[in-house]
Amino acid sequence: MKNTPKDYVLAGATGLAVLLIVGLLGVLLWEIVAGGAGVISGTFLTQSPSADMTSGGIFPAIYGTVVVTMLMTIAGVPVGIATAIWLSEYAPRHSRLTTIVRIAVNNLAGVPSIVFGLFGLGFFVLFVGGSIDDVVYGPGTPVWGKPSVLWASLTLAVLTLPVVIVTTEEALRTVPQDLRDASLALGATRFQTVFKVVVPNALGGILTGVILAVSRGAGEVAPILFCGAANFLPYLPTDLRDMFMHLGYHIFALATQSPNVDAARPMLFGTVLVLLVLTFSLNLVAVVVRSRARARLRA
């Protein structure tokens, strides 16, 4: 078939769009690597920042990010996967309850992350934490009812929940009904069918979704603003009730809160680079997991 002028226009316009995207990404990455690679060093990765944040390292922020991301995963992912299994395998197809749950999940996915931050402050810190304090300690200095690792992790878990639910449900739905029927017809219970046939065959998709959700959660700043992230904290959190430093929040702090913003700029780029490497490697793991799972299903 011969290309018409319209084809050339379309190919040109779409190609230009691609070029724009690739170009923007390239400039962004180049800026970050050029500005940040120079400060990456043993000291930078293992030391605490100096008081004015223009020298030293970012280890507390790396540590805080890893801890909060792990706690977020432990708290949120099982609930998300369980909800997805219920939606896909147990919920009656057209019932009102199922529809309501689905609408709720989709709306949750569209809520701006700063709203999750306020929700975390209002619900976890003030309500849950405050209630524990009232019941256990009575009036006085808050023990649980203040921003901390725990509340920030739970707030992030709520934020990532809809992503986990939607991707897991999609992965479960790609498992052919034929396989469920085969399993049931052999005398398997619904439970056995779900855990021996459906989930194992959807595992690649589920893991991909989980990792992408986690990598998104790792980079979020807004939800933890009020819930536990600290501006400057030269020691590591040792308790769930401690506050913590966080890479994303540290970037914000370096850019706006440093006494000498210009002097802190190399630190800023270095921190961005570390955060990007962390989330990119999580995404890379997701890509590998997905391609392996696909190969397994095709084998």
Partner: protein
């Protein structure tokens, strides 16, 4: 409807109706299933023969809007009765589907699946039952050297016989087959039909088929469904040579459907 009485039927259905929501899929089907014989269900697409088949092992239970009325018995016991577990029914009444649906696992694990979920763990017993079932499905010689390879690497005909082996492994009493050869080439179809003829020595077999020739070749009894009703049932010879109902005659002679 006209039908003949079958001595000592394995399964009996009495006035069985199946509804999907408000829609009726089959109405008041009364039919006996003979033991150690092949019963063929024929009729045009959408006539309800697959729906009827799926009510015999309670597979309709897996569709939330499906509802079954009437009485279905297996060895005289009501399979929809109170306290009867659908899982138990499906162990006794196995099913082979239109599209072969092996699990994306090894050949061995496919056949062992039903045993494992029933709690069998001993490797020696699993190995013996897997060999026995694959031999029963006429597949052992072809796959005995590749038991650990993925079942998805087998040919279409082999996959369908693997599904039959998987079904045999749980030692059912009745085997339901929903157009098991419709996706197979003529040679694989011939193999499968030969297998069905062998299997009827030990099992009651109910097969849905679109091929009148197939029904005539392999079945002992034939039931003709039309528009959700059982029009006529009887010995296959009689149905194909001296049908009592004019609609049956028109269908088998190819005047409609």
């Amino acid at each position: 409807m006209t039908s003949v009485a079958i001595p000592e039927p394995k399964m009996q259905t009495e006035n069985v109706s199946v509804f999907y929501g408000d829609k009726i899929a089959i109405g008041k089907v009364t039919l006996d299933i003979a033991d150690r014989a092949v019963t063929a269900l024929i009729g045009p697409s959408g006539c309800g023969k697959s729906t009827y088949l799926r009510s015999l092992n309670r597979m309709n239970d897996t569709i939330d809007i499906a509802r079954v009325q009437g009485k279905i018995t297996l060895d005289g016991q009501d399979i929809y009765g109170k306290g009867v577990d659908a899982v138990e029914v499906r162990r006794r009444v196995g099913m082979v589907f239109q599209k072969s649906n092996p699990f994306p696992k090894s050949v061995f694990e496919n056949v062992a699946f039903g045993l494992r979920i029933a709690g069998e763990k001993k490797p020696a017993i699993l190995a013996r039952r897997v060999e026995e079932s694959l031999s029963g499905a006429g597949l052992w010689d072809e796959v005995k050297d590749r038991l650990d390879e993925s079942a998805l690497g087998l040919s279409g005909g082999q996959q369908q016989r693997l599904c039959i082996a998987r079904c045999l492994a749980v030692r059912p009493e009745v085997i339901l087959m929903d157009e098991p050869t419709s996706a197979l080439d003529p040679i694989a179809t011939a193999r499968a039909e030969e297998l069905i003829r062998e299997l009827k020595e030990n099992y009651a077999i109910v097969i849905v088929t679109h091929s009148m020739q197939q029904a005539a070749r392999i079945s002992d009894y034939t039931a003709f469904f039309y528009m959700g009703e059982l029009v006529e049932s009887g010995e296959t010879d009689q149905i194909f040579t001296r049908p009592r109902e004019s609609r049956t005659e028109e269908y088998i002679t190819g005047r409609f459907g």
